[in-house]
Point group: C2
Chain length 215, copies 2
DNA sequence: CCGCACGTGGCAGCTTGCTGCCATCGTGTT
DNA sequence: AACACGATGGCAGCAAGCTGCCACGTGCGG
């Protein structure tokens, strides 16, 4: 089943949203859809009772969803309502929703015309998509953890230090390799560990890996 | 379009496999499908010329696909043929194939009857699934890297050590916390670092993260 | 019983990592 | 010029991590 435009989707699929009993998961590039007024309203109507009634809600976004402060505030609010939010560092479909593992809704990439939605209940398709979602979900990082670690705010120096650490050099060879004194190199490592909120170098390595600073 | 059984799939969708021009990706729990004789043969016919002609092939499996030696040997052979193989530590759909980002084939979880396949060309569905696949793919680890670090072969003790390291404890508190002597704890850490082929604790943390040993 | 292998733990000494202190140097401000 | 500020590096001392050595206990086969 294919519908065009948000209005038609809401008209024909609203019962799917409100009828979610056990689980509601969605993956999206950004918050675009839910920030549209009409969608917001119907979602708002659904949300309050939902979390209390044993419904788990999972939302997976790309970092694009954190672009502006309004979006971050909205996500924080959503989290406060018991919704699990994770951020994936890899591209995501523009919109994918799976409800109770029985029905799913996919949205096409934005084109010139109204957005096109596809609603499917085929168990084969839904299960396949659900499993892929689960894999992407497991690999993503919790929103709070993501906001805590400021991955993008690292300068080139810090990245160089990170690479040296990742290469397994001892401090002395790493410092020589980077043209730094031992003291300064260790200072840099200490700063890095502070920004990563790591208590040990092992933990720092773990965090660095989590935040995708390896590549 | 839905087909039942491997024979019917091959009869009706063989041209899709042989017609792949640019990209062939699949995600599966194990090698079950391709180890079946008839499927193997038609794949074998397709493979040789494929990699040479600018076709990229990506295969994503769970660790289940590495269960027996025959499977590992087959995967090594496949890799030698230029196919990219990655292992995801999270559950995957039983079978998902996307060809040239235009058509996809999903297989239902094995039931009592013949396996059921769904072939779809809807751009919305295919793009959605493709993006999810890409996210799962990016998060998975290269087969060679996976085989090098023996993630699954870690006993509970090692996992406990790993958790202690990840928690940022000092060796002393970690040892006390695990009921080990300092000496033994450090022995364990050294062993762990050896199996992870890490030269430093930082590197060990990085590897542990890469291999998905955080959870 | 003896010997053997293996895992464990204590000890000691060494290396590595960590950090406070101070001197130096360059930059930019008053 | 004088000054402040920040970044750097040397030094020293301490903390943490690493490992070789030996001793002890346990289990196993001779």
């Amino acid at each position: 089943m294919t519908v065009r435009g948000d209005a038609e989707l809401m008209a024909r699929a609203a019962h799917l949203f409100t009828g979610a009993r056990h689980e509601f998961v969605c993956a999206a590039r950004d918050l675009d859809t839910w920030s549209r007024p009409e969608a917001r309203r119907s979602m708002a109507r659904r949300k309050p009772g939902s979390v209390a009634s044993g419904l788990t809600v999972k939302k997976l976004f790309t970092p694009v969803a954190l672009a502006d402060e309004a979006a971050r505030a909205h996500l924080r609010e959503v989290v406060a309502n018991g919704v699990e939010v994770r951020i994936s560092s890899t591209p995501l479909p523009h919109e994918t929703i799976v409800i109770d593992r029985r029905v799913m809704i996919l949205a096409e990439r934005d084109g010139p015309g109204p957005r096109e939605y596809t609603v499917t209940t085929s168990p084969t398709l839904v299960n396949g998509v659900y499993s892929l979602f689960a894999a992407a979900w497991d690999a993503a990082t919790e929103l709070t953890a993501y906001l805590r670690g400021d991955a993008p705010h690292l300068d080139d120096d810090s990245r160089a230090v990170l690479r040296a650490l990742g290469a397994g050099y001892t401090d002395e060879t790493a410092a020589r390799h980077l043209g730094l004194s031992l003291r300064t190199y260790r200072r840099r490592v200490a700063e890095l560990m502070e920004t990563l909120e790591a208590d040990s170098r092992f933990q720092a390595g773990l965090r660095a890996g989590e935040l995708g600073l390896t590549g």
